[in-house]
């Protein structure tokens, strides 16, 4: 294990960390935005749209991310119509394909978490919203979603870590993310441990940071739930 090799190539790993960070962050944001309608149409059993969303979610969650990304990057190029379309400069690019693949993937998983959280909201709350004269849409926007999103937080931290894990797939389609940097180092200098172990340590640090950040977020946003329970405990 030659640590000076890693130190000499720190810019390569810095580039890798940056790529992993923006890939994961953007995928989560785009996936999260798509997850909201996916979850709402399923939880409120909207005809046709609900079934379509459920089918999409099942297909994405039932297949490997690797195949999904391959389909986008290698698969779509098969079609003449794709290659001559205006989207081709985007779809030809490995980074864009990874981003689209991860976002579509995250949408399905995040949607499933949200759907569960919406379904777990007590009936009384919907009735209360209706009693206040809120329309269905207003009730969803002002009452249901804010509550469901807060309650999804613990499960969502797992999704974020899962996304970091899944993001290594980008390195298989030539993107230089953290693992891509490790692989590049290894193939340039004919070594094995230096690149992979450095990548492992960097991912480990990233996951630890995310875990800590979510613990703080949970204290901030879920206190209302736990504080109630603690008050009851204190009273007895």
């Amino acid at each position: 294990m030659d640590l000076s090799l890693v130190a000499d190539n720190w810019t390569l790993f810095a580039e890798g960390v940056w790529t992993t960070l923006w890939l994961v962050t953007l995928s989560l944001i785009l996936g999260g935005l798509m997850a909201i309608p996916l979850a709402v149409v399923q939880a409120f059993r909207v005809p046709v749209l609900g079934q379509l969303a459920a089918g999409y979610s099942y297909a994405i969650r039932g297949t490997p991310v690797l195949i999904q990304v391959y389909l986008l990057y290698y698969g779509l190029a098969q079609f003449e119509a794709v290659r001559t379309s205006v989207f081709w400069p985007l779809l030809r690019d490995a980074q864009t394909c990874a981003l689209i693949g991860f976002a579509l993937n995250s949408a399905a998983y995040t949607g499933e978490i949200l759907r569960g959280a919406i379904a777990a909201i007590p009936r009384g709350l919907h009735e209360a919203a209706a009693a206040l004269g809120l329309s269905r849409w207003m009730a969803i926007r002002l009452v249901v979603l804010p509550l469901a999103i807060r309650r999804s937080l613990p499960a969502y931290s797992n999704e974020v870590i899962f996304m970091i894990h899944a993001s290594v797939i980008a390195s298989t389609i030539t993107v230089v993310d953290i693992l891509g940097a490790g692989r590049q180092l290894n193939s340039t200098y004919y070594v094995v441990y230096e690149g992979f172990l450095t990548a492992a340590v960097l991912y480990m640090a990233l996951v630890l940071l995310v875990t800590l950040a979510f613990r703080m977020l949970e204290i901030r946003f879920l206190d209302a739930f736990t504080a109630g329970a603690q008050r009851e405990k204190a009273a007895t």
């Binding site: 297909a59 039932g62 297949t63 490997p64 991310v65 690797l66 195949i67 999904q68 391959y70 389909l71 290698y74 698969g75 779509l76 190029a77 098969q78 079609f79 870590i161 970091i164 894990h165 899944a166 993001s167 290594v168 797939i169 390195s171 298989t172 693992l179 490790g182 692989r183 290894n186 094995v192 441990y193 992979f196 172990l197 990548a199 492992a200 991912y203 480990m204 996951v207 630890l208």
Partner: protein, 232 residues
């Protein structure tokens, strides 16, 4: 369409690799899981720390990184050990062995949590009752704990299996000829990658669906008397 008929057998021949690799990995994961849960529930603090280290490590490092490290790194480490001790000459790690060991090791950590959760959900009274009956150690485990652990662990076990199944797609990257690898090959030969990757996509979807059917059936079988037991 002709290409699909010609190359579909090649792609589907990878199905056998995917399924046998998944089952081997699952067996290893259960073994690693038992080892992990023994560590985590142990009375010695350093053993518990070892167990926590194992699950934290797996949560922190992506599967592909570990697989590449095991496959390429393990190869070199084994040969260095062989050279130093003079016990063996050059050995080559088989991709199937590297793949199933890595996946087994990774999902062993998830199984550890599954088993631990199920064990902790077991009412204390059960262990007290076993002691009162004069059962000890291994007998308590075999007659009282394990039979009740199965229905408690099954939902999380099912989930782990479904994720494990999808993780096996990664072995195509170290060159094992599974469904994904063969689909890529067929796609390259015919210049129709979409068709064959889509076939692989549907094969995985089918495997997921079949697994759910089977494991749901198992769950119903094991929880048949649940209602009665709780009612009494």
């Amino acid at each position: 369409m002709d290409d699909l008929i010609e190359f579909a057998p090649l792609v589907l021949s990878g199905l056998w690799v995917t399924v046998s690799l998944s089952l081997t990995s699952l067996g290893l994961a259960v073994l690693f899981g038992f080892a992990g849960v023994s560590l985590k529930l142990s009375k010695a603090r350093w053993l518990r720390a070892l167990g926590t280290g194992y699950t934290t490590l797996i949560r922190g490092i992506p599967d592909l990184v570990l697989m590449l490290l095991f496959y390429f790194g393990g190869q070199i480490a084994l040969n260095q050990i062989g050279q130093m001790t003079g016990l063996w000459d050059f050995v080559e790690i088989n991709q199937f062995v590297a793949g199933s060991l890595t996946i087994g090791f990774i999902f062993g950590a998830y199984m550890t949590e599954t088993f631990r959760g199920a064990y902790l959900a077991l009412p204390n009274g059960q262990l007290d009752a076993a002691r009162a009956l004069g059962l000890r150690g291994i007998l308590t485990l075999r007659l009282v704990v394990l039979p009740q652990l199965v229905p408690l662990a099954l939902p999380s076990f099912t989930n782990n299996w479904l994720v494990l199944l999808k993780t096996t797609a990664l072995v195509s990257i170290i060159g094992l000829q599974d469904i994904v690898y063969n689909a890529n090959q067929a796609g390259r030969s015919t210049q129709q990658p979409f068709i064959f990757l889509f076939l692989a996509f549907f094969v995985y979807l089918g495997l997921t669906f079949l697994s759910q059917l089977l494991l749901n059936w198992l769950r119903r079988r094991y929880t048949r008397h649940e209602g009665l037991a709780h009612g009494s």
